[in-house]
Subunit: 365 residues, 2 copies
């Protein structure tokens, strides 16, 4: 004798057992299969019986149990988003975009924060993978092989990362870099620094190559500095390194780091952009109201999140998935970049103190 009410005493509260398709079937005088079809494939049910079932269901306050539904079908209508650092506003926007798109498509978003470690990232995927229909990996720190292996057994999409032929959505880092270096070059900078982030950052590696290439083309010397922790606190050593390197402009791994650099520079009495220009990446919340407002390569973060979801959704639906979507980046010039000190290439604009950063003894202010 099936006990369909033995659930109430395990959970904290539920007293009234929830209605199942069997309850509805009994009430409506149909089989449970018909009830199931009414919700899963309404077209296969004659309109009037469908009506009847729906009425009873409404009266009983029926709501399908997603777990029970997922077990035989294998589809959970849930997607997982794995991010390395939920504290970075850039990921906030990605999350928001992903969440919106997921909900639109009738999916639920599960979030996993992995804290920059590839171990916990793998663990998170491992844990989530069996309970979701697909997973989006943002700025994954995993190596290509590992990613490929995950892609082998689940619907995967990459965000801010490319790996083999796995569906991905990224911003056009190369073009973004070209815009920045061009911008800086036109302001008279001939010696710039790249403040690197984690070595495992795919975008970081890509940018490094792009900066060197663009610099070579334009006659701009590029100093590779770092790696630095890509958070505000990391700006301290990054700024010090920049000063030590004698560059007139720096490209920070991301806006968080750039903001940290701005603060350290202010503490050390180095004027931005008078003595040093600073550029970030992402255009996060706060980039427009820090002081000076940050010039940055804006990433379409929201769109990144949405697109990543679209990618795995297509894969879930068995549709062909474009291997790689590249979204445009665009340079947002604000107040943290200006003519290079002593610049003669931007005549009439060198209104800044001309004491150049190079000449500052390391610890001076």
């Amino acid at each position: 004798m099936p006990d369909r009410s033995g659930r109430g005493d395990r959970r904290a509260v539920p007293t009234s057992a929830r209605a199942t398709i069997y309850d509805i079937a009994a009430e409506a005088g149909v089989s449970s299969a018909t009830v199931s079809r009414t919700f899963g494939a309404p077209a296969k049910v004659r309109p009037d019986t469908r009506r009847r079932v729906l009425d009873v269901a409404a009266r009983l306050g029926y709501r399908a149990n997603p777990l029970a539904r997922a077990l035989p079908s294998g589809r959970t209508s849930t997607l997982a988003l794995v991010v390395p650092a939920i504290t970075n506003p850039h990921f906030f926007d990605i999350i928001t975009g992903a969440e919106q798109r997921a909900v639109e498509a009738g999916f639920t978003l599960v979030l996993a924060n992995t804290g920059q470690s590839d171990l916990s990232e793998a663990a998170a995927i491992e844990r989530l993978e069996p309970m979701v229909d697909g997973v989006m990996l943002a700025s994954s720190r995993l190596d290509d092989d590992r990613i490929a292996r995950f892609a082998d057994r689940t619907n995967l999409a990459l965000c801010n990362r490319q790996a083999g032929r796995i569906p991905s959505v990224t911003t056009d880092q190369v073009n973004g870099i070209e815009q920045v270096v061009g911008h800086l070059h036109s302001l008279g900078h001939r010696r710039i620094g790249l403040l690197g982030g984690p070595e495992t950052s795919w975008a970081g590696r890509l940018r490094r190559r792009a900066v060197v290439a663009a610099g070579g083309r334009l006659g701009v010397t590029v100093q590779l500095l770092g790696p630095f922790n890509p958070i505000v606190a990391g700006g301290q050593s990054a700024a010090d390194a920049a000063i030590g390197a004698g560059v007139t402009a720096v490209l920070a791994h991301n806006d968080l780091l750039a903001i940290g650099v701005l603060r350290r520079l202010a503490d050390r009495g180095v004027h931005v952009p008078g003595e040093m220009s600073v550029v970030g990446f992402d255009d996060i919340f706060g980039a427009d109201f820090c002081v000076p407002a940050l010039t940055t390569v804006a990433a379409p973060s929201h769109e990144l999140g949405r697109t990543a979801v679209d990618l795995v959704l297509a894969s879930v639906a068995g549709q062909p998935v474009p291997a790689s979507t590249v979204l445009p980046a665009h340079l947002t010039v604000r107040e943290s970049t200006g003519p290079a000190p002593d610049s003669r290439t931007a005549p009439g604009q060198s209104r800044w103190r001309t004491q150049s950063a190079q000449t500052l003894p390391p610890g001076s202010r």
Copy 2:
């Protein structure tokens, strides 16, 4: 004839069917129940058989199917966090805290963003509730009755909100307000404005009462302004209203609004804190590097998230849950508050221009 491999062609990829407890049972020469016990209640299995099962499981790469596990047991090891505005950094911190605690406890966090509307909030709960063991509601816009009804059928905890006897974690708004009003009073302010947020905000209502009370006690006149949209953009009209009201200091509903007020005030040429002091709530990312740096009532956001999870975890475990946890708020004084214009109560500190805000014609700069 059970088909234990008919799963591969429905999903996009999985070629090798995943091992089940039956596969292990067969290999290890035990029953499926023993395998189940090995993982669910290892103490009930003799050490050597346990070993054998574990070995086979490892060899087969067995990982339990959480869905199948959840169906009979009714426990999904998943928690849902419902937030009104994921774009508010305050909630990021809450999310981070909640996520960490959840993972520590072996739970997965599902996130739902409801966009300030009580309709979508209810819908989100409705949707998530059947697939999670409990839900945390942050800054819920729902009325007490509705919340009580949800609490009736699921393990619920409130964050930034109190309602009846439902477990909740909040910050001590009243004390926070007292600190702010005291701070402002000691700086010579005698006429302050409260820039209200959504009418449905529980914290907002609480603060309103507290401000009026504290003001009355200290002889500070309080102007209730608003409601305003609690985002940066809302700061525009809020700032204008503050200027129009002739107050010398304002308490913004949250930091987002306060930052917007700061910007608008700067645009209109009103000096902060010289002509107007501004206080926010939450102490979000950016509050320390906006200009002037924001004086704010810091909420232990991270802790809020953690505690909310603890609350529902206790409830899930059937343990007694404290009805209401109140975390201390503390005033973080930065640069956006200073002596009131024309103040004589803070002698020697009124070094600011004394043109008071009141005298500014509405549209002037």
